[in-house]
Protein backbone atom coordinates (compact mmCIF):
# COMPACT_ATOMS: atom_id res chain seq x y z
CA UNK A 1 0.00 0.00 0.00
CA UNK A 2 1.84 3.04 -1.27
CA UNK A 3 -0.56 5.65 0.02
CA UNK A 4 -0.85 4.24 3.48
CA UNK A 5 0.67 6.97 5.59
CA UNK A 6 -0.32 9.88 3.43
CA UNK A 7 -3.38 11.88 4.16
CA UNK A 8 -5.00 13.39 1.12
CA UNK A 9 -6.22 16.97 0.84
CA UNK A 10 -9.71 15.80 1.67
CA UNK A 11 -8.47 14.06 4.80
CA UNK A 12 -6.55 17.13 5.93
CA UNK A 13 -9.56 19.41 5.49
CA UNK A 14 -11.76 16.88 7.28
CA UNK A 15 -9.41 16.68 10.28
CA UNK A 16 -9.04 20.45 10.44
CA UNK A 17 -12.82 20.86 10.45
CA UNK A 18 -13.11 18.18 13.14
CA UNK A 19 -10.64 19.99 15.38
CA UNK A 20 -12.44 23.32 14.87
CA UNK A 21 -15.83 21.71 15.51
CA UNK A 22 -14.66 20.14 18.77
CA UNK A 23 -12.67 23.04 20.14
CA UNK A 24 -14.46 26.16 18.92
CA UNK A 25 -17.13 26.01 21.68
CA UNK A 26 -14.48 25.44 24.34
CA UNK A 27 -12.31 28.31 23.12
CA UNK A 28 -15.42 30.48 22.76
CA UNK A 29 -16.54 29.96 26.33
CA UNK A 30 -13.10 30.64 27.80
CA UNK A 31 -12.68 33.75 25.63
CA UNK A 32 -16.05 35.25 26.52
CA UNK A 33 -15.57 34.58 30.22
CA UNK A 34 -13.08 37.48 30.02
CA UNK A 35 -15.47 39.75 28.15
CA UNK A 36 -16.04 43.23 29.53
CA UNK A 37 -19.72 43.48 28.60
CA UNK A 38 -22.69 41.18 29.11
CA UNK A 39 -22.72 40.37 25.41
CA UNK A 40 -22.13 36.79 24.39
CA UNK A 41 -21.31 37.83 20.84
CA UNK A 42 -19.21 40.99 20.85
CA UNK A 43 -15.93 40.94 22.63
CA UNK A 44 -15.69 44.50 23.90
CA UNK A 45 -12.62 44.27 26.06
CA UNK A 46 -10.77 42.26 28.66
CA UNK A 47 -12.11 42.13 32.17
CA UNK A 48 -12.19 39.81 35.14
CA UNK A 49 -15.54 41.03 36.41
CA UNK A 50 -17.37 37.75 35.72
CA UNK A 51 -14.81 35.88 37.74
CA UNK A 52 -15.22 38.39 40.56
CA UNK A 53 -18.98 37.94 40.37
CA UNK A 54 -18.58 34.17 40.35
CA UNK A 55 -16.32 34.14 43.40
CA UNK A 56 -18.70 36.50 45.18
CA UNK A 57 -21.72 34.33 44.37
CA UNK A 58 -22.09 31.99 47.32
CA UNK A 59 -24.40 29.51 45.56
CA UNK A 60 -21.90 29.15 42.70
CA UNK A 61 -19.00 28.65 45.08
CA UNK A 62 -21.03 26.13 47.05
CA UNK A 63 -21.70 24.16 43.88
CA UNK A 64 -17.97 24.06 43.12
CA UNK A 65 -17.32 22.90 46.68
CA UNK A 66 -19.94 20.13 46.51
CA UNK A 67 -18.75 19.01 43.09
CA UNK A 68 -15.15 18.63 44.26
CA UNK A 69 -15.99 17.04 47.63
CA UNK A 70 -18.44 14.57 46.10
CA UNK A 71 -16.02 13.72 43.29
CA UNK A 72 -13.12 13.10 45.69
CA UNK A 73 -15.18 11.02 48.15
CA UNK A 74 -16.93 9.07 45.39
CA UNK A 75 -13.58 8.38 43.72
CA UNK A 76 -11.95 7.11 46.91
CA UNK A 77 -14.84 4.87 47.92
CA UNK A 78 -15.64 3.55 44.45
CA UNK A 79 -11.97 2.85 43.67
CA UNK A 80 -11.53 0.82 46.85
CA UNK A 81 -14.85 -1.02 46.58
CA UNK A 82 -14.48 -1.56 42.83
CA UNK A 83 -10.95 -2.95 43.15
CA UNK A 84 -11.77 -5.18 46.11
CA UNK A 85 -14.86 -6.51 44.33
CA UNK A 86 -13.02 -7.10 41.07
CA UNK A 87 -10.35 -9.13 42.92
CA UNK A 88 -13.03 -11.10 44.77
CA UNK A 89 -14.93 -11.77 41.55
CA UNK A 90 -11.81 -12.90 39.70
CA UNK A 91 -11.57 -15.78 42.17
CA UNK A 92 -15.30 -16.53 42.14
CA UNK A 93 -17.20 -19.08 40.09
CA UNK A 94 -17.89 -18.07 36.51
CA UNK A 95 -21.67 -17.99 37.00
CA UNK A 96 -21.44 -15.70 40.02
CA UNK A 97 -18.98 -13.43 38.22
CA UNK A 98 -21.18 -13.28 35.15
CA UNK A 99 -24.30 -12.33 37.10
CA UNK A 100 -22.58 -9.69 39.23
CA UNK A 101 -20.87 -8.14 36.20
CA UNK A 102 -24.17 -8.02 34.32
CA UNK A 103 -25.97 -6.35 37.21
CA UNK A 104 -23.10 -3.97 37.81
CA UNK A 105 -23.11 -2.91 34.16
CA UNK A 106 -26.81 -2.04 34.22
CA UNK A 107 -26.16 1.62 35.10
CA UNK A 108 -23.60 1.83 32.28
CA UNK A 109 -25.92 0.30 29.68
CA UNK A 110 -29.19 1.87 30.81
CA UNK A 111 -30.15 5.40 29.82
CA UNK A 112 -28.93 7.64 32.63
CA UNK A 113 -32.38 9.05 33.22
CA UNK A 114 -33.74 5.57 34.00
CA UNK A 115 -31.03 4.96 36.60
CA UNK A 116 -31.76 8.42 37.96
CA UNK A 117 -35.50 7.96 38.48
CA UNK A 118 -34.93 4.50 39.97
CA UNK A 119 -32.62 6.00 42.57
CA UNK A 120 -34.98 8.91 43.18
CA UNK A 121 -37.88 6.57 43.98
CA UNK A 122 -35.61 4.26 45.99
CA UNK A 123 -34.33 7.03 48.24
CA UNK A 124 -37.77 8.48 48.78
CA UNK A 125 -39.26 5.04 49.55
CA UNK A 126 -36.75 4.68 52.38
CA UNK A 127 -37.43 8.20 53.52
CA UNK A 128 -33.84 9.29 52.91
CA UNK A 129 -33.68 13.08 52.76
CA UNK A 130 -32.51 14.26 49.35
CA UNK A 131 -29.21 16.08 49.57
CA UNK A 132 -25.54 15.42 50.17
CA UNK A 133 -25.88 11.77 51.24
CA UNK A 134 -28.15 10.74 48.36
CA UNK A 135 -25.88 12.53 45.91
CA UNK A 136 -22.79 10.80 47.29
CA UNK A 137 -24.41 7.34 47.36
CA UNK A 138 -25.62 7.76 43.77
CA UNK A 139 -22.18 8.86 42.59
CA UNK A 140 -20.45 5.94 44.31
CA UNK A 141 -23.03 3.65 42.74
CA UNK A 142 -22.43 4.74 39.16
CA UNK A 143 -18.64 5.05 39.55
CA UNK A 144 -17.98 1.50 40.81
CA UNK A 145 -18.76 -0.24 37.48
CA UNK A 146 -16.20 1.95 35.68
CA UNK A 147 -13.50 1.05 38.21
CA UNK A 148 -14.35 -2.63 37.87
CA UNK A 149 -14.30 -2.38 34.08
CA UNK A 150 -10.78 -1.01 34.11
CA UNK A 151 -9.40 -3.25 36.88
CA UNK A 152 -10.84 -6.58 35.65
CA UNK A 153 -8.77 -6.83 32.43
CA UNK A 154 -5.57 -6.26 34.45
CA UNK A 155 -6.58 -9.05 36.83
CA UNK A 156 -7.18 -11.39 33.94
CA UNK A 157 -3.66 -10.95 32.62
CA UNK A 158 -2.26 -11.53 36.11
CA UNK A 159 -0.37 -14.76 36.77
CA UNK A 160 -2.48 -16.61 39.38
CA UNK A 161 0.64 -18.44 40.62
CA UNK A 162 2.15 -15.23 41.98
CA UNK A 163 -0.36 -14.88 44.78
CA UNK A 164 -0.13 -18.61 45.49
CA UNK A 165 3.63 -18.34 45.69
CA UNK A 166 3.35 -15.47 48.15
CA UNK A 167 0.99 -17.53 50.31
CA UNK A 168 3.30 -20.57 50.14
CA UNK A 169 6.18 -18.42 51.26
CA UNK A 170 4.25 -17.51 54.38
CA UNK A 171 2.50 -14.29 53.46
CA UNK A 172 -0.93 -13.78 54.96
CA UNK A 173 -3.75 -13.32 52.41
CA UNK A 174 -3.83 -9.61 53.20
CA UNK A 175 -0.08 -9.32 52.61
CA UNK A 176 -0.36 -11.26 49.36
CA UNK A 177 -3.09 -8.90 48.31
CA UNK A 178 -1.34 -5.65 49.17
CA UNK A 179 2.21 -6.62 48.25
CA UNK A 180 1.64 -8.85 45.24
CA UNK A 181 -1.72 -8.35 43.58
CA UNK A 182 -2.39 -4.62 44.05
CA UNK A 183 0.97 -3.34 42.75
CA UNK A 184 0.52 -5.34 39.56
CA UNK A 185 -2.96 -4.05 38.80
CA UNK A 186 -2.07 -0.47 39.82
CA UNK A 187 -2.33 0.98 36.28
CA UNK A 188 -5.89 -0.35 36.06
CA UNK A 189 -6.75 1.04 39.49
CA UNK A 190 -5.38 4.47 38.59
CA UNK A 191 -7.20 4.70 35.28
CA UNK A 192 -10.35 3.46 37.00
CA UNK A 193 -10.02 6.17 39.63
CA UNK A 194 -9.48 8.78 36.93
CA UNK A 195 -12.60 7.69 35.06
CA UNK A 196 -14.57 7.65 38.32
CA UNK A 197 -13.39 11.16 39.19
CA UNK A 198 -14.33 12.70 35.86
CA UNK A 199 -17.62 10.78 35.73
CA UNK A 200 -18.57 12.15 39.13
CA UNK A 201 -17.21 15.63 38.42
CA UNK A 202 -19.14 15.95 35.16
CA UNK A 203 -22.34 14.19 36.13
CA UNK A 204 -25.59 15.98 35.54
CA UNK A 205 -28.57 13.71 34.92
CA UNK A 206 -28.34 11.45 37.97
CA UNK A 207 -27.29 14.30 40.28
CA UNK A 208 -30.16 16.45 39.06
CA UNK A 209 -32.73 13.83 40.05
CA UNK A 210 -31.32 12.62 43.36
CA UNK A 211 -30.21 15.87 44.95
CA UNK A 212 -32.26 18.39 46.86
CA UNK A 213 -32.32 20.83 49.73
CA UNK A 214 -30.02 23.29 48.04
CA UNK A 215 -27.18 20.85 47.43
CA UNK A 216 -26.18 21.51 43.82
CA UNK A 217 -23.19 20.57 41.73
CA UNK A 218 -21.71 22.65 38.91
CA UNK A 219 -23.74 20.94 36.17
CA UNK A 220 -27.04 21.59 37.95
CA UNK A 221 -25.94 25.18 38.51
CA UNK A 222 -25.23 25.69 34.80
CA UNK A 223 -28.52 24.02 33.86
CA UNK A 224 -30.68 26.15 36.14
CA UNK A 225 -28.81 29.38 35.40
CA UNK A 226 -28.66 28.96 31.63
CA UNK A 227 -32.27 30.08 31.27
CA UNK A 228 -31.14 33.69 31.15
CA UNK A 229 -27.96 35.31 29.91
CA UNK A 230 -25.41 35.35 32.67
CA UNK A 231 -21.74 35.55 31.74
CA UNK A 232 -20.82 34.25 35.20
CA UNK A 233 -21.71 30.83 33.80
CA UNK A 234 -18.92 31.33 31.28
CA UNK A 235 -16.50 31.97 34.11
CA UNK A 236 -17.76 28.89 35.95
CA UNK A 237 -17.49 26.84 32.76
CA UNK A 238 -13.96 28.06 32.12
CA UNK A 239 -13.10 27.10 35.69
CA UNK A 240 -14.48 23.60 35.10
CA UNK A 241 -12.51 23.22 31.87
CA UNK A 242 -9.30 24.35 33.55
CA UNK A 243 -9.84 22.04 36.54
CA UNK A 244 -10.50 18.92 34.47
CA UNK A 245 -7.64 19.67 32.08
CA UNK A 246 -5.31 20.12 35.05
CA UNK A 247 -6.36 16.78 36.52
CA UNK A 248 -5.81 15.08 33.17
CA UNK A 249 -2.41 16.73 32.75
CA UNK A 250 -1.28 15.76 36.25
CA UNK A 251 -2.38 12.17 35.78
CA UNK A 252 -0.63 11.94 32.42
CA UNK A 253 2.52 13.83 33.37
CA UNK A 254 3.29 12.24 36.77
CA UNK A 255 4.11 8.79 35.34
CA UNK A 256 6.48 10.41 32.84
CA UNK A 257 8.31 12.35 35.59
CA UNK A 258 8.47 9.27 37.80
CA UNK A 259 9.91 7.26 34.96
CA UNK A 260 12.58 9.92 34.37
CA UNK A 261 13.48 10.00 38.08
CA UNK A 262 13.66 6.23 38.20
CA UNK A 263 16.06 6.23 35.27
CA UNK A 264 18.22 8.91 36.87
CA UNK A 265 18.57 6.99 40.14
CA UNK A 266 19.54 3.88 38.23
Amino acid sequence: MMHENKTGVFGKILLACTAIFFYAPIVYIILFSFNESRSLTNFTGFSLQWYEKMFADSSMMESVFYTVVIAVLATIVSTIVGTVTAIGLSKSKKVVRGVVEQVSNLPVLNPEIVTAIGLLMFFSAWGVKKGFMTLLLAHIMFCIPYVMLSVTPKLRSLDPNLADAALDLGATPVQALIKVIVPQIMPGIISGALIAFTMSFDDFVISYFVTGNGVNNISIMVYTMSKRVNPSINALSALVIVMITTVLLIVNVIPVIKEKKRRKTI
Binding site: M1, L14, P25, N42, F209, Y223
Partner: protein
Protein backbone atom coordinates in the same frame (compact mmCIF):
# COMPACT_ATOMS: atom_id res chain seq x y z
CA UNK B 1 -7.32 -18.53 46.28
CA UNK B 2 -10.86 -19.04 47.47
CA UNK B 3 -10.19 -16.90 50.53
CA UNK B 4 -10.49 -13.80 48.32
CA UNK B 5 -13.96 -14.69 47.12
CA UNK B 6 -15.67 -13.15 50.10
CA UNK B 7 -14.26 -9.78 49.02
CA UNK B 8 -17.01 -9.54 46.43
CA UNK B 9 -19.84 -10.19 48.87
CA UNK B 10 -20.35 -6.64 50.21
CA UNK B 11 -20.67 -5.30 46.68
CA UNK B 12 -23.19 -8.01 45.78
CA UNK B 13 -25.46 -6.75 48.55
CA UNK B 14 -24.81 -3.14 47.53
CA UNK B 15 -25.54 -3.87 43.85
CA UNK B 16 -28.75 -5.62 44.78
CA UNK B 17 -29.93 -2.76 46.97
CA UNK B 18 -28.87 0.19 44.80
CA UNK B 19 -29.16 -1.26 41.30
CA UNK B 20 -31.69 -4.10 41.29
CA UNK B 21 -34.20 -2.72 43.79
CA UNK B 22 -34.55 0.68 42.02
CA UNK B 23 -35.12 -1.13 38.71
CA UNK B 24 -37.81 -3.27 40.33
CA UNK B 25 -39.38 -0.12 41.74
CA UNK B 26 -39.68 1.36 38.25
CA UNK B 27 -41.48 -1.83 37.17
CA UNK B 28 -43.75 -1.73 40.20
CA UNK B 29 -44.65 1.94 39.76
CA UNK B 30 -45.22 1.54 36.02
CA UNK B 31 -47.83 -1.15 36.55
CA UNK B 32 -49.69 0.41 39.46
CA UNK B 33 -51.86 3.43 40.10
CA UNK B 34 -51.03 6.46 42.14
CA UNK B 35 -51.79 6.22 45.84
CA UNK B 36 -51.63 2.44 46.04
CA UNK B 37 -50.94 0.88 49.42
CA UNK B 38 -48.87 -2.24 49.90
CA UNK B 39 -51.91 -4.03 51.35
CA UNK B 40 -54.32 -3.05 48.61
CA UNK B 41 -51.96 -3.08 45.67
CA UNK B 42 -53.64 -3.35 42.29
CA UNK B 43 -51.88 -3.77 39.01
CA UNK B 44 -52.97 -1.82 35.97
CA UNK B 45 -51.98 -1.07 32.42
CA UNK B 46 -53.62 2.36 32.55
CA UNK B 47 -50.28 4.22 32.52
CA UNK B 48 -49.27 2.53 29.29
CA UNK B 49 -52.67 2.99 27.63
CA UNK B 50 -52.58 6.66 28.51
CA UNK B 51 -49.14 7.03 26.97
CA UNK B 52 -49.72 5.03 23.80
CA UNK B 53 -53.20 6.42 23.01
CA UNK B 54 -52.41 10.10 23.49
CA UNK B 55 -51.57 11.90 20.25
CA UNK B 56 -49.36 14.44 21.99
CA UNK B 57 -47.23 11.80 23.69
CA UNK B 58 -47.04 9.75 20.51
CA UNK B 59 -45.83 12.73 18.48
CA UNK B 60 -43.19 13.42 21.14
CA UNK B 61 -42.09 9.79 20.99
CA UNK B 62 -41.98 9.97 17.20
CA UNK B 63 -39.95 13.18 17.30
CA UNK B 64 -37.51 11.72 19.85
CA UNK B 65 -36.93 8.63 17.73
CA UNK B 66 -36.57 10.74 14.59
CA UNK B 67 -34.02 13.07 16.20
CA UNK B 68 -32.11 10.12 17.66
CA UNK B 69 -32.01 8.23 14.35
CA UNK B 70 -30.97 11.38 12.48
CA UNK B 71 -28.22 12.06 15.02
CA UNK B 72 -27.00 8.47 14.75
CA UNK B 73 -26.97 8.53 10.94
CA UNK B 74 -25.06 11.84 10.86
CA UNK B 75 -22.58 10.46 13.40
CA UNK B 76 -21.93 7.42 11.19
CA UNK B 77 -21.63 9.48 7.99
CA UNK B 78 -19.25 12.03 9.54
CA UNK B 79 -17.59 9.74 12.05
CA UNK B 80 -16.58 6.99 9.65
CA UNK B 81 -14.40 9.14 7.34
CA UNK B 82 -12.84 10.89 10.34
CA UNK B 83 -11.99 7.56 11.97
CA UNK B 84 -10.76 6.23 8.63
CA UNK B 85 -8.44 9.18 7.97
CA UNK B 86 -7.03 8.93 11.50
CA UNK B 87 -6.51 5.18 11.15
CA UNK B 88 -4.53 5.78 7.94
CA UNK B 89 -2.09 8.05 9.73
CA UNK B 90 1.17 6.95 11.26
CA UNK B 91 1.10 5.74 14.84
CA UNK B 92 2.24 8.96 16.51
CA UNK B 93 -0.13 11.32 14.79
CA UNK B 94 -2.92 8.78 15.13
CA UNK B 95 -2.47 8.78 18.91
CA UNK B 96 -2.45 12.57 18.86
CA UNK B 97 -5.73 12.83 16.95
CA UNK B 98 -7.45 10.25 19.12
CA UNK B 99 -6.38 12.20 22.19
CA UNK B 100 -7.67 15.39 20.59
CA UNK B 101 -11.08 13.80 20.08
CA UNK B 102 -11.17 12.15 23.52
CA UNK B 103 -10.25 15.29 25.47
CA UNK B 104 -13.52 17.22 25.03
CA UNK B 105 -15.51 14.19 26.21
CA UNK B 106 -13.83 14.59 29.60
CA UNK B 107 -15.23 18.08 29.89
CA UNK B 108 -18.71 18.52 31.30
CA UNK B 109 -21.34 17.90 28.62
CA UNK B 110 -23.60 20.59 30.02
CA UNK B 111 -20.87 23.23 29.81
CA UNK B 112 -20.09 22.29 26.21
CA UNK B 113 -23.78 22.37 25.28
CA UNK B 114 -24.19 25.73 26.98
CA UNK B 115 -21.34 27.06 24.82
CA UNK B 116 -23.36 26.28 21.70
CA UNK B 117 -26.20 28.48 23.00
CA UNK B 118 -24.03 31.55 22.54
CA UNK B 119 -22.68 30.40 19.20
CA UNK B 120 -26.06 29.60 17.66
CA UNK B 121 -28.04 32.58 19.01
CA UNK B 122 -29.77 34.96 16.61
CA UNK B 123 -27.13 37.55 17.35
CA UNK B 124 -24.54 34.86 18.00
CA UNK B 125 -21.07 34.17 16.68
CA UNK B 126 -22.17 32.38 13.51
CA UNK B 127 -24.69 35.03 12.56
CA UNK B 128 -22.23 37.85 13.28
CA UNK B 129 -19.75 36.05 11.06
CA UNK B 130 -22.34 35.65 8.29
CA UNK B 131 -23.22 39.32 8.69
CA UNK B 132 -19.71 40.31 7.63
CA UNK B 133 -20.47 38.79 4.25
CA UNK B 134 -23.84 40.50 4.08
CA UNK B 135 -25.76 37.30 4.73
CA UNK B 136 -28.91 37.94 6.78
CA UNK B 137 -29.12 36.17 10.13
CA UNK B 138 -30.45 32.62 10.17
CA UNK B 139 -32.52 31.41 13.11
CA UNK B 140 -30.69 28.41 14.46
CA UNK B 141 -31.30 28.32 18.20
CA UNK B 142 -34.55 26.64 19.28
CA UNK B 143 -34.80 24.58 16.09
CA UNK B 144 -34.37 20.86 15.41
CA UNK B 145 -31.10 21.79 13.71
CA UNK B 146 -29.66 23.13 16.97
CA UNK B 147 -30.77 20.05 18.89
CA UNK B 148 -29.31 17.61 16.37
CA UNK B 149 -26.11 19.65 16.19
CA UNK B 150 -25.80 19.59 19.97
CA UNK B 151 -26.34 15.85 20.05
CA UNK B 152 -23.88 15.15 17.23
CA UNK B 153 -21.32 17.35 18.96
CA UNK B 154 -21.70 15.54 22.27
CA UNK B 155 -21.98 11.97 21.02
CA UNK B 156 -19.87 11.71 17.83
CA UNK B 157 -16.61 11.07 19.75
CA UNK B 158 -18.02 7.71 20.89
CA UNK B 159 -18.69 6.78 17.26
CA UNK B 160 -15.24 7.88 16.03
CA UNK B 161 -13.45 6.03 18.84
CA UNK B 162 -15.37 2.78 18.25
CA UNK B 163 -14.86 2.81 14.47
CA UNK B 164 -11.21 3.77 14.86
CA UNK B 165 -10.66 0.88 17.28
CA UNK B 166 -12.14 -1.64 14.87
CA UNK B 167 -10.16 -0.20 11.93
CA UNK B 168 -6.83 -0.44 13.75
CA UNK B 169 -7.59 -3.97 14.91
CA UNK B 170 -7.99 -5.02 11.29
CA UNK B 171 -5.31 -7.22 9.80
CA UNK B 172 -3.63 -5.10 7.10
CA UNK B 173 -2.54 -8.20 5.19
CA UNK B 174 -6.16 -8.67 4.07
CA UNK B 175 -5.85 -5.45 2.09
CA UNK B 176 -2.60 -6.61 0.50
CA UNK B 177 -4.26 -9.90 -0.37
CA UNK B 178 -7.16 -8.00 -1.94
CA UNK B 179 -4.87 -5.87 -4.08
CA UNK B 180 -2.78 -8.92 -5.03
CA UNK B 181 -5.97 -10.54 -6.22
CA UNK B 182 -6.63 -7.55 -8.45
CA UNK B 183 -9.01 -5.42 -6.39
CA UNK B 184 -8.60 -1.68 -6.74
CA UNK B 185 -8.64 0.59 -3.70
CA UNK B 186 -12.37 1.17 -3.77
CA UNK B 187 -13.17 -2.51 -4.15
CA UNK B 188 -10.76 -3.41 -1.39
CA UNK B 189 -12.40 -0.83 0.86
CA UNK B 190 -15.96 -1.93 0.11
CA UNK B 191 -15.32 -5.65 0.34
CA UNK B 192 -12.63 -5.86 3.01
CA UNK B 193 -12.32 -2.76 5.19
CA UNK B 194 -15.98 -1.86 5.46
CA UNK B 195 -17.31 -5.31 6.45
CA UNK B 196 -14.46 -5.78 8.93
CA UNK B 197 -15.13 -2.42 10.58
CA UNK B 198 -18.88 -3.01 10.91
CA UNK B 199 -18.69 -4.26 14.52
CA UNK B 200 -17.17 -0.88 15.42
CA UNK B 201 -19.95 0.93 13.59
CA UNK B 202 -22.56 -1.17 15.41
CA UNK B 203 -21.17 -0.47 18.87
CA UNK B 204 -20.81 3.18 17.87
CA UNK B 205 -24.49 3.25 16.91
CA UNK B 206 -25.38 1.80 20.30
CA UNK B 207 -23.31 4.40 22.12
CA UNK B 208 -24.86 7.30 20.19
CA UNK B 209 -28.47 6.18 19.89
CA UNK B 210 -28.92 5.36 23.58
CA UNK B 211 -28.09 8.81 24.99
CA UNK B 212 -29.69 10.54 21.99
CA UNK B 213 -33.11 9.03 22.69
CA UNK B 214 -33.11 9.73 26.41
CA UNK B 215 -31.28 13.07 26.57
CA UNK B 216 -33.27 15.95 28.03
CA UNK B 217 -30.87 18.81 28.63
CA UNK B 218 -29.77 19.25 25.02
CA UNK B 219 -33.36 19.82 23.78
CA UNK B 220 -33.97 22.09 26.78
CA UNK B 221 -30.88 24.24 26.23
CA UNK B 222 -30.69 24.31 22.44
CA UNK B 223 -34.32 23.57 21.55
CA UNK B 224 -35.88 25.89 24.08
CA UNK B 225 -38.80 25.17 26.40
CA UNK B 226 -41.15 24.30 23.54
CA UNK B 227 -38.92 21.59 22.12
CA UNK B 228 -40.08 18.53 24.04
CA UNK B 229 -38.51 15.11 23.71
CA UNK B 230 -39.31 11.96 25.64
CA UNK B 231 -36.63 12.70 28.24
CA UNK B 232 -38.24 16.09 28.94
CA UNK B 233 -41.57 14.42 29.62
CA UNK B 234 -39.96 12.03 32.08
CA UNK B 235 -38.23 14.98 33.75
CA UNK B 236 -41.54 16.85 34.07
CA UNK B 237 -43.44 13.84 35.40
CA UNK B 238 -40.86 13.27 38.10
CA UNK B 239 -39.79 16.74 39.08
CA UNK B 240 -42.80 18.95 38.34
CA UNK B 241 -46.04 16.99 38.01
CA UNK B 242 -45.03 14.34 40.50
CA UNK B 243 -46.81 11.49 38.73
CA UNK B 244 -44.19 8.82 39.29
CA UNK B 245 -46.37 5.97 38.07
CA UNK B 246 -46.89 7.54 34.67
CA UNK B 247 -43.24 8.66 34.51
CA UNK B 248 -42.08 5.13 35.29
CA UNK B 249 -44.30 3.72 32.56
CA UNK B 250 -42.83 6.14 30.00
CA UNK B 251 -39.28 5.32 31.11
CA UNK B 252 -40.01 1.62 30.89
CA UNK B 253 -41.52 2.01 27.42
CA UNK B 254 -38.47 4.01 26.36
CA UNK B 255 -36.05 1.44 27.77
CA UNK B 256 -37.89 -1.37 25.97
CA UNK B 257 -37.84 0.56 22.68
CA UNK B 258 -34.11 1.18 23.07
CA UNK B 259 -33.42 -2.48 23.90
CA UNK B 260 -35.50 -3.57 20.93
CA UNK B 261 -33.64 -1.29 18.51
CA UNK B 262 -30.30 -2.47 19.91
CA UNK B 263 -31.43 -6.04 19.37
CA UNK B 264 -32.43 -5.25 15.77
CA UNK B 265 -29.10 -3.52 15.05
CA UNK B 266 -27.13 -6.45 16.44
CA UNK B 267 -29.30 -8.91 14.51
CA UNK B 268 -28.71 -7.11 11.21
CA UNK B 269 -25.00 -7.34 11.94
CA UNK B 270 -24.95 -11.08 12.70
CA UNK B 271 -27.26 -11.92 9.81
CA UNK B 272 -24.87 -10.16 7.46
CA UNK B 273 -21.98 -12.17 8.85
CA UNK B 274 -23.84 -15.37 8.18
CA UNK B 275 -24.70 -14.22 4.66
CA UNK B 276 -21.05 -13.63 3.87
CA UNK B 277 -20.04 -17.10 5.00
Amino acid sequence: MKQFRSMAYPYMIWAFVLIVVPMLMILLYAFTNKGNDVATIQFTLANFTRFFTDDVFMSVLGRSLFIAVLTTVICVILGYPIAYVIAQKGEKSSVFWILLITLPTWINMLVRTYAWMGILQDGGVINTFLGWFGIPPITMIHTSFAVVLGMVYNFIPFMILQIHASLTKMDKSFLEAASDLGANRLEAFLRVTLPLSLPGVISGITLVFLPAVSCFFIPKLLGGGQFVLIGNIIETEFLTTGNWNFGSAISLAMAVIIMFSMYLTKKVDTDKDRGNV
